[in-house]
Amino acid sequence: MVDPTAAGALSNTSLAERALRIRRHALRMGEVQGQGYVGQALGIADVLAVAYFHALRHRADDPAWDGRDRFLLSIGHYAIALYAALIEAGILPEEEIETYGADGSRLPMSGMASYTPGMEISGGSLGQGLPIAVGMGLALKRKGSDAFVCNLLSDGELNEGATWEAAMSAAHWRLDNLVALVDVNNQQADGASSGVLGFEPLAARWEAFGWHAQRVDGHDIPALVAAFDQARSLPAPKPRVLICDTVMGRGVPFLEAREKTHFIRVDPAEWSLALHAIDAGRTA
């Protein structure tokens, strides 16, 4: 278990190393299948590193521990990223990387609760995570639990009306145990998210719905640590959102530079190059 209140919480340097290892795990899974949403995984790795190694309470040997903070992945296609984080957190064994996306694997390409320890909900049909999070947040308060519910959404997912039904409800019920994370990589299935359905000004929108909003560079680990800390400790009786601006393919320069698409192309010879690029980032 990581105790975020302990003085010995991981340093920013080791959080960077965790993020790097999460990127490696994700790339290795992508290599197994020759595909996967690695662009998103590389982009969200820093956020997941801070979530799993600084902010969230969990027990590697007991992923269903009742005192855990719940992490809901509504964007099921980001499963490769969460698997990587769960592997790094010791909730999933590293050997299972080899099974990614294969028949019978616990690591299907879209995240589903019944398949994978640590996967709280079945994502994939976007817009369902935050409504479920509202119910869990209310239920945890009813149980007298001080656990948090964290829901990772994408900017595209904000197109879904149910997200805003839940946003209204969370503020109405003063769910101060609810933290929404929005990955703003400005990319969704049909193109740039801002072109598909404009979403700015994003922080102002959440604030107008009654939320405490912070907008952070999703690759600035000290900033993410501070934002998570504030989200946890804020006394205001309102839900909290961390809007994280990220870059798809982060950490692999030739993927960062590639023309942005929802499903980023990686050629067979490029997987090892990508891993080398990640490792080069470690020594840089």
């Binding site: 079945s122 369902q128 479920i132 999070a133 119910g135 869990m136 239920a139 149910a162």
Partner: protein, 335 residues
Amino acid sequence: MSQSATPPAKPRLTTSAMIASIASEGQRTRPAPFGHALVKLARERPEIVGLSADLAKYTDLHIFAQAFPDRFYQMGMAEQLLMGAAAGFAREGFLPFATTYAVFAARRAYDFIAMAIAEENLPVKIACGLPGLTSGYGPSHQATEDVAIFRGLPNMVIVDPCDAVDIEGAVPAIVDHPGPVYLRLLRGQVPVVLDEYNYTFALGRAALLRDGAEVLFISSGLMTMRALEAAKALEADRIGAAVLHSPTLKPLDEAAVLREASKPGRLVVVAENHSVVGGLGEAVAGLLMRSGVRAAFRQVGLPDEFLAAGALPTLHDRYGLSTAAVVAAVKGWLA
């Protein structure tokens, strides 16, 4: 349908009101059986919580909300949120009852019921008012295809109670079921019918309420009440009609249906408060075909169309659900 050629003698019976009673004149009724049954059960089951999408008052959940205000969650007029939040409660060990109208659950919130609740086999109990044709308000509030929608959903149990007695039996039974349930709710002043029969609700079981040699009604919901009335009327014409009440639409009590439908010489009439597409009628027909049971087969149900607005008795006559219409149809088929 809301206009009448002659001045109405009873205005109450000729209005396309949203809320209308299915009780006939002088029929015995009990108020809000769902709400009272839930309160009774919730005293013993602290994990029961109630959620509604701005329709607690019209789904009788307000009775529960008054008894247990801190266990009632108003989710606003947001049915997708309602179902997602109910799933969240169930994930944390609670037994949530989520109420709205059947149209909104089946049409608007279906994906949330499918993925957040049914795919996870969570014990969310979805209790919905205005099933089938129980409102004169028009297609926006007439859930004529709700059973067809939910029958296709794996893990979902569908219960279509006949009366107050059935509802009072169904509430504890569906709580004991470990998965999701869709309950077609009769609310307000609900007829009391089944106490005249040796009957108790059992989930997944159909019950033969009466026997007869010429006709076998297989029915659910309020159409069991109509089938019983029709059977009495047919009896006066020396036509014997059996009534097999099948309040659990899924899983169907296949053994009971096959046992009764296999008895030779009877016209099988499936009667349901639902479209003839995708409901009990087609479920029974498919079962009989698969099982090699050949019987004369007819359906009483709603046509495959958006229905008119109007007074409920008018509409039940027009679309063949009234007792008189059922009797006339059966006599025609037997002729």
